[in-house]
């Protein structure tokens, strides 16, 4: 079934997630959608699959007919099925029950015939899924397989896959690709959303690149990788003056640290961080940098290796021990993790001082707040609640909460969503604190220019792989873009060569 998107707009508040997108995908082809985080890929796919509605004026044409898709149920009704990055299934239920869900009609489903359908489909694609198994016992790859045959069984003719190769094994990925090619041959339309250049180049018969909500280019094989990178991240801009680091004693040392969460495994990461140094962590969201920075804060316990803070072995110690050692962690989700909505600025500053007295000294708190508000240029009053501040001011408030003395500042997306003036201000403050306290900084950013501009060294993350520390001064945006997309990595085995 041919898919045509015409003039799709979508805005959230003032920001446009999609801006006048026109895209046409022929039946039987595999269309790749590339773009960095926040480029608008997911928004576009959610519009096509009915999770959200586009702004008025856009049109979706399926097989020559204009359709209105108001819900995922509508979408599957007209033949559009989406496989989400995190499988939307019900882990405590059996595979077959999951398979049945979403099917309309029939109070009492005919399990025997459905079971047969299930087994037939699974066999067709060589999936070995036990219909009576519980979903929480399956791997991410197997859950994906379940979801694919469920969507096919429900009548999907257009299959959207959002970052399907994250969190699955190499053999599962191979099987997935074979399946997708087979489906395309059968006349299905496949839309493959990814940030992994290699996967897209291997699989797709056509690629569209989104940047900042706009479709900036399309390409057919043979693919020109450097051109794709340029389209994804924009023209290479000349960077401003860099300041070389004045490094001192070792603040943080990671020795063969291995980390694990549900999706990712990081093996044998090493880092030797000196005072005064800034290390940027680059990589597309969910590539392991979040896990890494939380391990540096003591919020994630490593499954192997050692973590030293100023020479002291803190492996496996809780976050509060790290904090007493001068480690401060500023999470990306400011109102969810960093600040306490409902409490005022003054109350935050008071709490961050870790008071030991019984009664609150209101006057001192007021003075402290006024002082911090002034020195961090926060637009707000001591009695402002944090949720009433703008994003940039919340970020400044978080910086103002940094304790003293300080040895290590860990930041997740310190400048995301901020205007350029705030970005410059925040970095000058950070460098200030760094110099004054003899601290080091590790930060995550998805802005490549920011990473290159402010780091001395950087680590690149790709699907849980961590690069050796790279000198930021001699790296270009394009080189970094390729690494983030999984290109130009040393083959396994000669990492240490």
């Amino acid at each position: 079934m041919n898919v045509e998107l015409k003039n799709i707009h979508k805005h959230f508040g003032k920001t446009y997630a999609n801006k006048g997108i026109n895209l046409s995908v022929r039946s039987g082809s595999i269309q790749g959608i590339l773009g960095e985080n926040g480029a608008g890929k997911s928004t576009l796919m959610k519009i096509l699959s009915g999770f959200i509605q586009s702004d008025p004026g856009g049109e979706i044409i399926l097989g020559g007919n204009s359709v209105v898709i108001n819900s995922p149920a509508d979408a599957i009704h007209v033949g559009v099925g989406m496989l989400h990055q995190d499988p939307l299934d019900f882990p405590p239920m059996r595979v077959l029950d999951n398979f049945l869900l979403g099917r309309s009609g029939g109070l009492f489903p005919n399990r025997a015939s459905v079971r047969q359908d299930f087994l037939d489909l699974a066999k067709q694609f060589d999936f070995s899924l036990d219909p009576e198994n519980y979903v929480d016992a399956l791997t991410v790859g197997e859950r994906q397989q379940l979801e694919i045959i469920r969507l096919l069984w429900m009548g999907a003719r257009v299959l959207i896959l959002d970052e399907p190769t994250t969190g699955i094994s190499a053999s599962q990925k191979q099987k997935l690709f074979i399946t997708l090619k087979k489906l395309a041959e059968q006349g299905m339309t496949i839309i493959f959303v990814s940030h992994k250049l290699e996967d897209v180049e291997f699989l797709c018969s056509q690629v569209a690149v989104l940047r900042a909500g706009e479709l900036v280019g399309e390409m057919k094989p043979p693919f020109d990788t450097s051109k794709l990178v340029e389209m994804m991240f924009g023209k290479v801009v000349t960077l401003g003056e860099r300041q070389p680091a004045q490094t001192g004693e070792t603040i943080l040392a990671l020795q063969d640290v291995s980390l694990e969460d549900v999706r990712l495994k990081i093996k044998n990461a090493n880092l030797d961080l000196k005072a005064g140094e800034v290390v940027g962590l680059a990589g597309l969201e969910g590539s392991g940098q979040g896990l890494f920075i939380r391990a540096c804060a003591g919020l994630v316990r490593p499954v192997g290796g050692k973590v030293f803070l100023k020479g002291k072995d803190l492996t496996g110690k809780p976050y509060h021990t790290f904090k007493r050692g001068g480690v401060n962690f500023l999470p990306a989700s400011r109102l969810e993790e960093g600040l306490v909505p409902g409490l005022t600025l003054t109350e935050h500053f008071i709490l961050a001082e870790e008071p030991t007295a019984v009664f609150i000294d209101r006057a001192a708190g007021q003075r402290l707040a006024e002082d911090r508000i002034k020195s961090y240029n926060i637009r707000g009053t001591p009695t402002s609640t944090v949720e009433s501040l703008s994003g940039g001011n919340q970020q400044r408030a978080e910086l103002a909460l940094l304790q003293s003395p300080l040895s290590l500042i860990l930041l997740e997306h310190p400048t995301r969503g901020l205007d350029i003036e705030s970005v410059i201000y925040i970095w000058s403050k950070l460098k200030d604190r760094c110099k004054k306290d003899g601290a080091a900084i590790i930060f995550i950013s998805s802005d490549l220019e920011e990473v290159l501009q402010y780091s001395d060294r950087l680590l690149v993350f790709f699907s849980g792989e961590v690069s050796e520390p790279i000198d930021a001064a001699t790296t270009t945006v394009e080189q970094l873009g390729q690494l983030i997309g999984g290109k130009g990595w040393p083959q396994k085995g000669d990492v240490n060569a």
């Binding site: 999470p331 969810e336 960093g338 600040l339 306490v340 409490l343 109350e347 709490l351 007295a357 019984v358």
Partner: protein
């Protein structure tokens, strides 16, 4: 800020009248005059000194429980187990009194010890709910509910088992303690100024904890955003547990006063539902400790005033419960409406 406070007050007033209107409808539906019913309730609660003293008797445990619940609410916890914590307070107090009832220790000291015993027992029961939550991952609502049933069973076991009356065990409770072990009462009235003072001090302490101490600020931070509180360096699970202990101790004090100042023995229904009523008061006052005093007093007045209804109007006295419940529902509902309204503007 001021504007939102004003609109909040107006909406609460609307809720109050909506609740009155709704209960009036029920009364009309059963053929009773709402006006007479409300008048009788008013008369029955503040019509005479004696009646008002009864209101205060009901006010004391309600205020104590509410004071405790304000702490757990601030910590973001739904301490449904407060009912059982009252019961355990009463059991603890009865146990201490029984220990000393034949001793030569001065009765005043025995009473004080017994009240502390009740507070300790209530705190212990709350610690169970807290430990289930922090170490066992059991939601405090489920843990508390379970412990409530256990506490009721424990009371019945004690009344009909080890602590049964000489001769025959009965639902009327254990053998009453001699008068010397009762908190002194105002002549001719059932109210004890001592218990009133204890409740008053409790709510003031809670007010100061929440308003003026670092401890209270940390509790609030934990309640409003436990993850951010942890990152700010607050030992979060410990503070959750502390709030359980304080609430349990205050609920235990309520149970202790039910024994030493009201019933002078352990009875099966010793908690009289004050725990659940306290949850409603705490919800209504929305973390503002000082407001707990008038609201708890109002709820107590409704409780006592409705006692007149069966006698005078052949209406069931559970009407007060209906009015209290409806009032809470309407206040929460109008608050929801207000927030939607405020957001739109």
């Amino acid at each position: 800020m001021l504007k939102s406070r004003l609109s909040g007050f107006i909406f609460q007033l609307i809720a109050f009248f909506l609740a009155l209107g709704f209960v009036s409808l029920i009364l009309v539906a059963v053929g009773a005059s709402p006006f007479d019913a409300f008048k009788n309730m008013l008369n029955g609660s503040i019509g005479s000194m004696r009646k008002f003293a009864e209101v205060l008797v009901s006010f004391v445990p309600l205020l104590l429980v509410t004071a405790g619940l304000l702490i757990t609410f601030s910590a973001g916890l739904w301490n449904i187990g407060v009912e059982g914590q009252i019961v355990l307070g009463a059991i603890g107090t009865t146990w201490v009194l029984r220990l000393f009832v034949d001793s030569s220790v001065h009765p005043a000291i025995v009473i004080i010890l017994s009240i502390f015993g009740g507070m300790a027992a209530g705190a212990l029961w709350a610690a169970f709910a807290g430990a289930l939550k922090t170490f066992g991952g059991v939601n405090e609502i489920f843990g508390g509910l379970g412990l409530n049933f256990v506490s009721t069973a424990l009371t019945l076991y004690l009344i009909f088992g080890p602590w049964k009356r000489e001769g025959v065990a009965s639902m009327s409770g254990t053998e009453p303690f001699p008068d010397v072990f009762a908190l002194p009462q105002v002549p001719d009235l059932r109210i004890s100024l001592w218990s009133l003072a204890i409740a008053g001090v409790a709510i003031l302490i809670v007010y100061f904890i929440l308003q003026g101490t670092y401890f209270g600020l940390k509790i609030k931070a934990v309640g409003k955003n436990i993850r951010a509180a942890y990152l700010l360096g607050i030992p979060t699970w410990q503070y959750s547990l502390y709030s359980f202990l304080i609430c349990g101790a205050l609920a235990g004090a309520a149970g202790a006063l039910q024994v030493t100042a009201v019933y002078h023995r352990l009875i099966p229904a010793i908690s009289s539902g004050y725990g659940y009523l306290g949850l409603m008061v705490a919800m209504l006052v929305n973390y503002q400790a000082i407001w707990a005093i008038p609201v708890a007093l109002f709820f107590a007045a409704l409780n006592i005033g409705s006692i007149q209804l069966p006698i005078l109007m052949h209406l069931d006295s559970s009407l007060s419960g209906v009015l209290q419940g409806v009032l809470v529902l309407f206040v929460l509902l109008t608050e929801g409406v207000r927030q939607k309204f405020v957001k739109k503007v």
